[in-house]
């Protein structure tokens, strides 16, 4: 199932949430939605989930306009909101049972390719039990008695228990310990391998870098850049770490001006040498050619981490 934002705009009174946002997430993609706080991530997601009505433009999931006919595809969508709010007085068991009952209809069974609601219920129980094991959840406790991390685990289970084809997660790992984060991410990778579309909004860039195939950067309610992580890295800056004799530094500065390289960081200063980091948009071939003329102690050329890219886009 694909997700398409078409000039989607949302105003809160006069304040802008997102502005003429265009975005295409292809069927079967693992999409990372990245941006600082207040960039419009949650607004975009809530628009997509029909929790908010667009001021103009549309969002389509599987070619269905979510502000008009969202009901048609609800059973195929899994959503994990950022603040994991559920009915506190219920035990986890009761919550899961209630959730299952909501999907216990003939129409949904047919949609999921089984012949009876009971069969689908069994499937849901199986998936729930697997996740409960992996995520180490105590199902006897009342929801409100759980820690934030545990609440998020339940919200995750509820988001994927009904075998959705497209899974939207709003900052799922915030507040979780690294071990659980990894379990959650590997579960998502597995779901992705099964052919589902994953839309992951995240603060944690390493998480996006390690898991997502495509990444979209949002700033002030508009997409800055949408590309595969590979392409994003290849097309963008190169990070060159040079170790040179101090007396050679002047010639390095000249090289930098000639090649439009920007001094990014001075990592270390030794007795007679310096270790500096430059960013440049020049191609690797170009860089190698120009570096040949310099006297260098050491050199490395890297693609920047997503974090570095992020800094580049937002600062």
């Amino acid at each position: 199932m694909s997700i398409i934002f078409e000039q989607a705009t949302k105003y809160y009174g006069k304040a802008i949430g997102i502005k003429a946002l265009d975005l295409v997430v292809k069927q079967g993609d693992f999409f990372g939605f990245v941006g600082p706080n207040g960039a419009g991530k949650t607004t975009a997601i809530k628009l997509m989930m029909n929790l908010l009505q667009p001021s103009s433009g549309s969002v389509y999931i599987d070619d269905v306009d979510t502000s008009r006919h969202f009901d048609k595809i609800k059973a195929s969508v899994g959503f994990m909101p950022s603040d994991a709010s559920l009915y506190g007085d219920l035990t986890v068991e009761a919550l899961l049972r209630f959730n299952r009952n909501l999907y216990k209809t003939d129409a949904i069974a047919r949609l999921k390719g089984v012949n009876h609601p009971k069969v689908f219920e069994e499937m849901m129980i199986k998936r729930e039990n697997d996740l409960i094991d992996w995520l180490n959840i105590d199902t006897k406790k009342k929801f409100k008695a759980l820690s934030l991390g545990n609440k998020k685990k339940i919200a995750f289970v509820l988001a994927v228990a009904h075998y959705p084809n497209v899974i939207i997660l709003d900052e799922p790992t915030s507040g979780l310990d690294p071990l659980i984060q990894e379990v959650l991410m590997s579960t998502l990778r597995m779901l992705h391998k099964e052919g589902n579309t994953i839309f992951l909004s995240s603060h944690t860039l390493s998480e996006v870098e390690n898991n997502c195939r495509t990444v979209g950067l949002i700033k002030s309610g508009q997409m800055l850049e949408v590309n595969t992580i590979e392409a994003l890295k290849a097309n963008s800056l190169k990070e060159i770490t040079l170790t040179v004799a101090k007396r050679q530094f002047e010639s390095i500065k000249k090289w930098a001006i000639d090649n439009e390289a920007v001094l990014y960081d001075q990592i270390k200063e030794y007795e007679s040498t310096l270790k500096v980091v430059y960013h440049t948009k020049a191609s690797v071939t170009q860089i190698l050619k120009s570096l040949g003329e310099l006297t260098l102690v050491d050199v490395s050329i890297d693609s920047p981490s997503l974090e570095t890219l992020f800094m580049h886009y937002y600062l």
Partner: protein, 438 residues
């Protein structure tokens, strides 16, 4: 949808149950005062009908006369506890059903489940109905019980609604056996004629009757003299000029306004004779029920009650047990049904507020406040004759809480208006942003 309805009911049944218990215990405690009230009825009657008290009680919908009967006494408290507290509570719950999901952010979960918003809205309303029904079943059950306990102490009361033509005929036919036992004197006759006169005047639509006399104005002008017709006739004959002049003030007919002194005196004599003949017949007849019952059945039934002849009447006409009773269960049910309908409407209005308002975090409190305003608008302003139309702006104004009747047309109109609000709320709910934090 059944899953959603059941889910809501389970979540909310506890507070509803506690609320019902609180109200029911207030009612049960109130009923403990009933014996004291009946024992001191005469004293209380005098106190309550003084000007100030009458007005104060009127402001709180307390009908002094009605309070004396068992159901009337119960309703006096029911109106306060069930209508106001229950109404406020369910208006709050109605709004909270929708508002709470958004306040706590659980709507982000619920809205993604395979149910349309319309179904969510409808299922919340259905669960609200189930909760209100549960509440009223508890109230009715306990109310019934606490009244039954006091039944033997209660005075006998006539239920006008049960007074069918057929039953009246039966009393006329079979009433002779107790007619003889009914003691009739001048005072009773005087009370009878007064009531008849009052009845005929109040029932009359136009101020001027067919003969061209403004009877109502005339009776007002006579004032206290009407209490003793014999004395009034004497006064008229001793000073005919003054009374003729007074009479002419209330006459519109040309022929009558030309009336001379002699004809006036003659007419007064005539009326006096008629009155005396009637009085003679009334006091001496052995068939009082056969002859006069139809003219004012309630008057005679109250007479039977006053003279402790109810048992004799029941022996003669067993059907009358359905008309005269100590515990009028039907009146209790009628009153509770009225309150139930108003509560349904208030709950629905609460839901409208929760559904239609985008920033509905405060909707429950607003619904609660609005209900209180409705209640006092109806009570206090409804008592002021010039402003009595205001009660039609509040749901409370449509309910007949005395238990005298169920005005189905009026209640249906109220329900219909509430449903209009409900539909508007649903349309808004279907299309609006959820106000959970962004």
């Amino acid at each position: 949808m059944f899953t959603l309805v059941l889910f809501e009911i389970r979540k909310r049944i506890k507070p509803v149950f506690w609320m019902a218990l609180a109200i029911v215990s207030m009612v049960a405690i109130s009923m403990q005062f009933y014996p004291t009230i009946t024992e001191n009825m005469a004293l209380l009657d005098g106190f309550l009908s003084t000007g100030m008290m009458d007005q104060v009680l009127g402001a709180f919908n307390v009908e002094v006369a009605a309070m004396k009967s068992l159901v009337g006494f119960f309703n006096t408290y029911c109106t306060m506890w069930v209508m106001m507290v229950g109404g406020v509570f369910f208006a709050y719950v109605g709004a909270d059903l929708l508002s709470k999901e958004e306040r706590l952010g659980t709507i982000d979960y619920l809205a993604l489940k395979p149910y349309s918003r319309v179904k969510i809205y409808l299922s919340k309303w259905l669960s609200l109905q189930a909760l209100i029904l549960t509440f009223f079943i508890v109230i009715t059950g306990v109310g019934w019980g606490s009244l039954k306990l006091q039944e033997s102490r209660a005075p006998w009361v006539v239920d006008e609604n049960a007074l069918t033509e057929e039953r009246i005929e039966q009393v006329v036919k079979q009433g002779d056996s107790i007619s003889a036992n009914i003691v009739i004197d001048e005072a009773i006759f005087s009370a009878y004629t007064n009531e008849m006169l009052l009845k005929s005047v109040t029932e009359q639509q136009e101020s001027v009757d067919t003969a061209g006399i403004d009877a109502k104005g005339l009776i007002d002008a006579f004032g206290d003299q009407m209490q003793d017709p014999e004395a009034l006739f004497d006064a008229m004959l001793s000073d005919p000029d003054q009374y003729l002049a007074l009479f002419k003030n209330f006459v519109t007919d040309d022929a009558l306004s030309q009336l001379d002194r002699a004809s006036f005196i003659e007419a007064v004599h005539e009326e006096q004779d008629k009155y005396e003949n009637l009085s003679q017949d009334f006091i001496t007849t052995d068939h009082i029920l056969r002859d006069y019952f139809k003219t004012n059945p309630e008057f005679f039934l109250n007479l039977v009650i006053e003279q402790n002849l109810t048992k004799d009447l029941f022996n003669a006409v067993p059907e009358m047990k359905k008309v005269i009773m100590q515990f009028n269960a039907l009146a209790l049910l009628r009153a509770l049904f009225n309150m139930y309908m108003v509560t349904v409407v208030l709950g629905t209005l609460g839901m409208f507020m929760g559904g239609a308002l985008k920033n509905n975090a405060a909707a429950p409190q607003q619904a609660l406040g609005l209900t209180l305003i409705f209640y006092f608008m109806n009570s206090i302003l409804g008592y002021e004759v010039n402003l009595s139309w205001i009660k039609w702006l509040t749901p409370f104004g449509y309910a007949e809480t005395s238990g005298d009747e169920i005005n189905l047309a009026r209640l249906m109109l109220l329900f219909f208006v509430a449903m209009l609000f409900f539909i508007v709320g649903g349309i808004r709910y279907k299309k609006r942003d959820f106000s959970s934090r962004v």
